[in-house]
């Protein structure tokens, strides 16, 4: 779906945010970009989204870059419009592509149902809990204007601001959603546990300069029971070792 070849990005203040990042993203993938702050994982995500341009290397999409609205983006905060209802918030990406409220209704309701928010169409963000707001934000990233499928979902630490119980529930529900929809997901996180639980491939990144240290393929099944499996503990241990090794002063 996407081939990233030695992508680099240096900010105007001189910080080398990312250097020599190469990565292949397949359709239906679930890739986690994992690393401490400053490792360039968010920068890489913004390059993939087209919100920023690399100043070295290339990003090549199979069959050309996605059209406007072809990428769903979920931020750390839900970033909903506070004056709009859940339904209007999910409608927004379609509305910006010229899809009317009535035309969009079926897709919008389906997206809200997919994240477990059927019946909350008329709720405003302030009436929803943090977890529910994030669910609306995910539903908003799921809707696609006509002609913009297949969907790529880019997520920038979407569960980092939630409490642990809510986080676990959302992780499990999202994993289930990914299995049902077959969406391609690129997921930025600084939590080893989250990356090990969710992703099929874990891309370990290290800072100064931001670069990819190692790519680990997960042997685990994408299901809630994974959290209690010995393989999960082993994977967490393996990722931790890779991170420690990569961060050790040379």
């Amino acid at each position: 779906m996407l081939t990233i070849q030695s992508a680099g990005r240096r900010f105007p203040n001189g910080t080398q945010a990312l250097r020599g990042a190469s990565l292949r993203l397949e359709q239906g993938d679930f890739v986690a970009l994992l690393g401490p702050s400053g490792c360039g994982k968010s920068t890489l995500l913004r390059l993939v989204a087209g919100l920023d341009q690399p100043d070295a290397g290339t990003l090549a999409w199979d069959g050309g870059p996605p059209p406007a609205g072809g990428i769903g983006y979920v931020f750390q905060d839900a970033t909903l419009l506070p004056w709009a209802t859940a339904e209007e918030n999910v409608w927004l990406p379609l509305r910006l592509r010229g899809v009317g409220r009535e035309q969009a209704r079926a897709q919008v309701r389906a997206a809200l149902a997919q994240v477990g928010l059927a019946g909350f169409e008329g709720a405003r963000p302030r009436e929803l809990s943090g977890g529910m707001r994030m669910r609306v934000s995910i539903a908003r990233a799921l809707v696609a204007p006509p002609g913009a499928a297949p969907r790529v979902l880019l997520m920038d630490e979407p569960f980092a601001a939630l409490d642990e119980f809510t986080r676990h529930k959302l992780q499990e529900d999202f994993l289930d959603l990914w299995r049902r929809t077959g969406t391609t997901v690129m997921f930025v996180t600084h939590s080893i546990y989250e990356a090990a639980f969710l992703a099929r491939r874990i891309v370990v990144m290290t800072p100064r300069p931001g670069r990819i240290a190692r790519e680990i393929v997960s042997p685990l099944a994408p299901e809630p029971a994974t959290r209690f499996s010995p393989g999960y503990a082993a994977l967490v241990g393996e990722i931790t070792a890779v991170l420690q090794q990569a961060m050790a002063p040379a």
């Binding site: 609205g69 910006l96 592509r97």
Partner: protein, 254 residues
């Protein structure tokens, strides 16, 4: 009810204050051309209610016209500033210059330049009232977080769609807060302009009544005009607060 004391306390304090005032006037026998009591002030108003209410109306028309002009101008310039850095650089310093120049100092010029007295008063009041709406709206238009702006970009939204669906709705609470401040200022501006214009102006507003009563030593009537003026100010403030609350409640805020 929780809000009850807060509701009647101001009125009770006012009544006690007026009673004490009246009692002091009676006790000291001070003549009404120095300090009129509340009863004398009320009598002065009731002697010519049509004249006084007509003056109030005249001042209010100037006030609300200036407020409307300020709202349109303030929002338009704030939007222009948001649209281009060039416009921002061009507008900002002049808006500040206009705001810091005392209107009393430029009012005579405006009254001479703008031939029509009504228009001259509106221009003066607008100069005073314009800035809070303008600066508040500008802050509100710039208030959406970078993430939401990114989201709009990702979905191919142009400047117009971003303005209509994101920046303007985000600016509404800021605009309303500015409108409330500007409402009071528009009244102040209208009164100041009437004072400066004097007999050369409209010769009908409340400020003119105050001037005229002063010249004729009709101090109770002067006080009556003052009371009407402050009542108008309170009413404008309360009405704009109500409008703001209603608009924001309709959006599920406040």
């Amino acid at each position: 009810m929780n809000g009850t004391p807060a509701r009647w306390a101001p009125a009770a304090a006012g009544v006690i204050f007026l009673a004490l005032w009246q009692a002091a006037v009676w006790a000291t026998g001070v003549p009404p051309y120095l300090v009129p009591g509340p009863l004398a002030i009320m009598q002065a108003f009731l002697a010519v209610p049509g004249l006084m209410l007509g003056s109030l109306l005249s001042t209010l028309v100037v006030t609300f016209t200036a407020l409307a002009v300020s709202a349109v101008l303030g929002v338009a310039l704030a939007v222009a500033m948001t649209a281009s850095p060039w416009a921002r650089a061009a507008i900002q310093p002049w808006a500040v210059a206009l705001q810091v120049t005392p209107v009393v100092a430029i009012a005579p010029l405006i009254i001479v330049w703008v031939g029509d007295p009504f228009a001259a008063l509106v221009v003066c009041a607008t100069i005073v009232a314009f800035f809070p709406i303008f600066s508040n709206t500008a802050i509100g238009l710039a208030s959406p977080p970078a993430e939401l702006l990114d989201l709009f970009r990702l979905n191919g939204a142009g400047a117009w769609a971003t303005l209509r669906l994101l920046r303007l709705p985000a600016a509404l609470p800021y605009f309303l807060a500015g409108l409330r401040i500007s409402g009071g200022l528009a009244l102040v501006g209208a009164v100041v302009a009437e004072f400066v214009a004097g007999a050369g102006g409209f010769a009908s507003g409340l400020a003119y009544r105050i001037l005229e009563s002063g010249y004729r030593l009709q101090i109770p009537r002067m006080f009556a005009a003052l009371v009407l003026l402050s009542a108008a100010g309170i009413a404008i403030n309360a009405a704009l607060a109500l409008v703001a609350r209603w608009l924001l409640r309709r959006r599920g805020e406040a």
